[in-house]
């Protein structure tokens, strides 16, 4: 009954909007987060800055402009320049040297660059930093990363990840068994953890006979609000082969951004390239049962506790 209720996200104002390597001091980057346009760029000191992507003058997108030698962002339409730190307009080209730049500006937002992820505080410069998500990974011998725009609503994507991780994630050569979980989901006030069996994908058809034991296990830890998730792929001894940190954020309409970084060790001489799919698997969505996702909603979690 509470399954259509949006999970509680109040109080969380940080979203992953980019990976570190996508923000440069050469070219501004326009991103959309939760329906709002932002421009990201690096200033002269290399710090990532985020401003509302709308010039204070005639609303042109600053992301179509350029970054000046001083590390300011310059609007493409008439060249007004803004400091990334404060959002203040610092230069208007046609004004004479004696003329003072009026106190104009655009909204500036807090940015945190950590572990290769860029998180943006949508509450402005004073967004509460205690709410930053942790994306740190103990680095293994190989690293890979990607970001995808997925045509599926953010909140529903978080549910889907919990209910049918194989619809959202992929491991070439192996199959995540959406319907084969180890134990009940573990629910904390802010996260849900669930572990699924992973089988080698057979070359021919899947065998009819059930396998008793599986070579691999996929452990998912999803933040209830859906800003971040972690995935670990382990072998049957429990050794972690691959770890993935995923940032998820609503873009606009039904689009969701998935930005992730993975690190892993070779297993039987090869790397299992676990990652987020660029395109969701429709059949897996069709066959997904709604279960662990129910526990994102407080009332469902309370019921579970009551039953227990």
């Amino acid at each position: 009954m509470s399954k259509n209720k949006k999970a509680e996200t109040a109080g969380l104002h940080w979203w992953v909007v980019s990976l570190s390597e996508d923000v440069s001091a050469d070219k501004p980057l326009g991103v959309i987060c939760d329906g709002r346009d932002y421009v990201l760029f690096r200033d002269a000191g290399g710090a990532v800055r985020a401003l509302l992507d709308q010039c204070a003058h005639r609303r042109a997108p600053l992301s179509l402009g350029r970054i000046t030698a001083q590390g300011w962002i310059e609007c493409p339409y008439h060249g007004w320049r803004y400091s990334g730190e404060s959002g203040s307009c610092v230069n208007i080209p046609n004004l004479s040297a004696e003329e003072k730049v009026p106190g104009y500006g655009v909204d500036a937002f807090a940015v945190e660059e950590r572990d290769g992820f860029i998180q943006l505080g949508t509450e402005g410069l004073h967004s509460d930093r205690t709410q930053l998500a942790d994306f740190s990974l103990a680095q293994k011998s190989a690293q890979w990363h990607a970001s995808h725009l997925i045509a599926y609503p953010h909140d529903a994507l978080v549910d889907l990840l919990l209910d049918a991780p194989g619809a959202v994630l992929q491991i070439p050569g192996a199959t995540i068994l959406n319907n084969h979980r180890y134990g009940e989901p573990i629910v904390s006030p802010t996260t849900i953890e669930v572990t699924h069996a992973v089988a080698w994908t057979p070359r021919g058809k899947m065998p009819k006979q059930a396998q008793a034991d599986f070579p691999l296990a996929l452990r998912l830890m999803v933040e209830k609000a859906g800003h971040s998730a972690r995935v670990e792929l382990s072998d049957d001894t429990g050794a972690v082969l691959i770890a993935v940190a995923i940032g998820l954020s609503p873009v606009k309409r039904n689009l969701t951004a998935a930005l992730w970084r993975a690190t892993g060790e070779p297993y039987r001489e090869r790397i299992l390239e676990l990652g987020v799919r660029a395109h969701l698997d429709a059949l897996e969505i069709k066959h997904a049962y709604v279960y662990p996702s129910l526990l994102r909603r407080d009332s469902a979690a309370e019921q579970l506790i009551a039953i227990a």
């Binding site: 204070a56 003058h57 493409p76 339409y77 008439h78 080209p93 046609n94």
Partner: protein, 350 residues
């Protein structure tokens, strides 16, 4: 061009005073009516009817024997409606062929007075310009933003720097005049560096020049004239239609008054820049549109350089208010004071 209401802008004062009013500006939300729109170049009309729109109203333009008609239905399709208040009982809109264009009247047909058509001294009245002198561009935005862009000087250095040269001039002054229907802006620039385009493609050997640039817009129809006199380069005036097809599409039919220069090569080369210059404007106008269209009121910040644009917003708001109250008349302040050919400094062709 007439000086019944003439204003010279001194400083930021004007910009800020008009700012407050201009923040009420709602582009793309009101269809100003009772004006002539040059929707098609006359030579583009062949056997097939042309479809043009003015404020989403369809205009089928076609030949009926010797006559050119503009109707609200396609001649081979049965007329499905009784027509709108913009057409006569036969479904015809008023139409006039002049200056090489087919002009249609959007508004009450009873008010379609040929006197309301602009005087375009640099175009022959009864003859179309040669093919190389005209064309069309589209701006995917509402036409008010295009008009504001046309009255906007400082974007030229940024958006069109490759054609116009950089902003490092000695003197740069702006003067504008307006009436209830028009806004005119004159910019005087001394010692402006020439662009690579001007030097290499147009063959100017000097490095700097002085310019008097003239911009004139008609608020209702969007028609504008642009002309600039350089101390070195020949000048070719431009008429651009900026027809509001809808709040997301402006059709800019353009034609150059190529007879104004003796330099035949320049007369052929300069019109070729039109699509590139338009693409530069489109790159900012298109993203601007959703940021204005049906958005909650938000004050734009301005400097003294925006005075003409802000003034246009004010005049536009005033015209809308009058039309909302059922007043579609042209006020006496638009009576021509002096000859437009003199103001533009062009040789009269008609």
């Amino acid at each position: 061009m007439n000086t019944v209401v003439a204003e010279t802008v001194a400083a930021e004062k004007a910009a800020t005073a008009e700012d407050t009013l201009a923040s009420k500006w709602r582009p793309g939300e009101f269809a100003l009516r009772d004006a002539w729109f040059p929707v098609a170049q006359a030579p583009t009309l062949h056997k097939r009817p042309l479809l043009r729109m003015v404020h989403s109203q369809p205009f089928y333009i076609w030949r009926d024997g010797d006559r050119i008609r503009a109707t609200d239905y396609h001649p081979i399709a049965p007329r499905r409606t009784d027509g709108s208040e913009f057409v006569s009982a036969s479904g015809d809109y008023p139409l006039i062929e002049r200056f090489g264009y087919l002009w249609v009247w959007y508004g009450n047909p009873a008010n379609a007075d040929p006197e309301r058509m602009p005087d375009i001294p640099f175009l022959p009245q009864h003859r179309a310009q040669p093919k190389y002198a005209w064309g069309v561009n589209f701006f995917h935005c509402t036409y008010e933003l295009v008009l504001e862009n046309i009255l906007d000087l400082t974007h030229i250095d940024f958006v069109h720097g490759s054609f116009s040269g950089s902003a490092d001039s000695e003197e740069d002054s702006i003067r504008f005049e307006s009436t209830s229907e028009t806004v005119t802006m004159i910019r005087t620039v001394k010692n402006r560096p020439l662009s690579t385009y001007q030097r290499e493609v147009l063959g100017a050997s000097q490095t700097h020049h002085d310019i008097d640039a003239f911009t004139h817009i008609f608020i209702r129809s969007g028609v504008c004239f642009l002309h600039s006199h350089s101390s070195i380069l020949p000048g070719i005036p431009l008429m651009q239609s900026n027809t509001p097809e809808s709040s997301t599409l402006t059709r800019a039919n353009y034609v150059f008054g190529v007879q104004q220069t003796q330099d035949k090569a320049y007369a052929r080369n300069w019109p070729r820049t039109a699509p590139d210059i338009a693409a530069q404007d489109e790159s900012v106008l298109n993203p601007q549109n959703p940021r204005y269209l049906r958005q909650p009121p938000r004050r734009d910040n301005s400097t003294r350089f925006d005075a003409a644009g802000l003034h246009y917003r004010k005049r536009h708001i005033a015209l809308i208010e009058r039309q909302q109250n059922g007043d579609f008349d042209y006020l006496p302040d638009i009576a021509e004071g002096s000859d437009l050919a003199d103001i533009l400094k062009v040789k009269r062709m008609s």
